[in-house]
Amino acid sequence: MIPSRRSFLMGAAVLSATVITPDLVRAAQAAAATPNWALATGDIEADIAPRAMRLVEGRPPVGLEGVLYRNGPAKFRRPGRSARHWFDGDGLVRRFSVSGDSVELAARFVDTRKRRQEERLGAMVMPGFGTPPDPRAEIGSPDDANAANTSVLMAGDRLWALWEGGSPVAMDPQTLETEGYVTLRSDLRSMPFLAHPRVEPNGRIWNLGMGGGQAIVWRLSADGTFEDASVIDLPRASYVHDFTATTRHLVIVLQPWVRERQTMPFADGFAWRPETGTQILVVDKDDLTRRRLFETEAFGFFHLGDAWTVGDDILFDLALHRDMDFAARGASEVVEGVPLDGEPAHLGLIRLKADGTTELTRLPVVAEFPRSDPERAGLSRRLSVHTTGENRETPFARAIGVTDWGSGQTRAFDFGADHVVDEMIYVAKPRAQTEADAWLVGPSLNLAERATELHVLDVARIEDGPVATWRADVALPAAFHGVWAG
């Protein structure tokens, strides 16, 4: 916490100066050290009209048909003021449509009230995860600050762009036209909806929304219709970006990054309290009052894998961070082009045992964005898909890996230093027999070619690299999360 506390105080000192504005200081920093990955947090000025991507490697996999939707921030800077944190840019929803041997790419910004207001003012004025408030902002509801920039969810025949502090925003999955903020029940208007819903293989959707020491638990049917919601109390006001679930339980990991002050930007209200360890709350899906609390050592995290059970034990994988310095500090420096000095996350496995104890296994594998077979969500599985190859200087991955929890082995493909590799999605092959009968589908940003690429890899032979790669004539910044609609 000391580095981020120091940088916060320095930030405050700079703000109090009248001649040297923070924007000037950051521009100077960026000019002094613009890293080659700056495109990954670059600005996109307008929607990307549908265009064909060109096959540049391999051959199109037979039987892969569908659409990869991804979401991530793609507009950070305006003349009058810029966002100060990677998590605060405007959500750009990308649509990679794979059909036969052709791939088409389109992308549209979510047409949020935030974006309209900031376009009108020519300034990024909304307070956010790491962007301080601006007196010009007009905010009457959390959704006025909703960047809709973190993930997407297929809710029946609608595509929802997700943030974590406000409502889902519905879009047309064909045209990516924004349709509006989703109110699931009138008395729950403006309640938060995390960007990490857990979807059961039967389609039922579970999600949380965080409110300090409380969470709303959402339950939706497969078509996105409201089924139930209730508010539960949490033992601490931890930062929760993601949770996980088995078929019978919700698993809520409460890291020791705890909200202690109601302030903006949001991240400034949190303090790192490693001495308090990490708590893990397990709640029965059938009866939210039935709960167990586990404890383990302190770690920071954003992302968990799907959970499963072995006997009465609950297991799940996760990307373990040493602390939450990246959230508090690193993700601001990324968007400002300042080289990082942070330790990348590593893959871990947590076992919550029936006797109430917790086992944490740390693998010496750099990893983020863990994913797995959506048809095995909540069920026993062996494989985790994850990015890898992040290092101290870059927060971005250059490789994609598959870790087998049966063998303990990780196989990976390194795209090289010229690539910023996004999260990739597991897509089962037609008539798949085993968990390894699957493709990974996901983009990278090719920094040398200044172009977005879409890759398909074979899970069984990931180390051989893409079976097919298509290249676009545009370079889109790194995105956070996506879904495959087959």
């Binding site: 408030p133 009457g140 008395d187 938060p192």
Partner: protein, 143 residues
């Protein structure tokens, strides 16, 4: 935000206060554009920054049933001066600003000039307007 809404709801829930006897010079007319035609609109008019920003008494309050997508509220015979207004659409007609479990409003609210606040109510600086003769504003109360 929460504190503001509590104060606003309390003030707006009061029965109409009798108009003070004074020289009549102007009418202020608000036309509220709403979404669904249900419930009522609760309106409070203030004649000073201290009352408006400081949770003081409004100079007038009014409530009107919403039976169409447009509703008119008329404050007659007001002296010239500066005013600001806050209103909410009480969709379920319970007389209170409904909120979600985390305390955020679930019913539409608005201020004169269609002013918007910044994580709170629009302040007098954004919402006040000067009345010299009859004055009309159309206020967006749709969600």
């Amino acid at each position: 935000m929460k504190a503001f809404l509590a104060a606003a709801a309390a003030v707006l829930a009061l029965a109409a206060t009798p108009a003070l006897a004074q020289d009549s010079t102007a009418d202020i007319t608000f036309t509220f554009e709403t979404g669904q035609p249900s419930g009522q609109i609760m309106v409070a008019l203030y004649d000073s920054q201290s009352a408006y920003d400081g949770g003081g008494r409004p100079v007038r309050v009014e409530r009107v049933s919403v039976t169409a997508t447009s509703s008119v509220v008329d404050f007659a015979d007001l002296p010239a001066g500066d005013y600001a207004m806050r209103a909410f659409h009480d969709l379920n007609g319970d007389g209170e600003m409904s909120r979600n479990p985390f305390g955020m409003p679930t019913e539409p609210f608005a201020f004169s000039n269609n002013a918007r606040g910044n994580m709170g109510p629009a302040g007098w600086d954004r919402a006040h307007f000067t009345v010299a003769g009859d004055t009309a504003q159309t206020i967006n109360l749709a969600q």
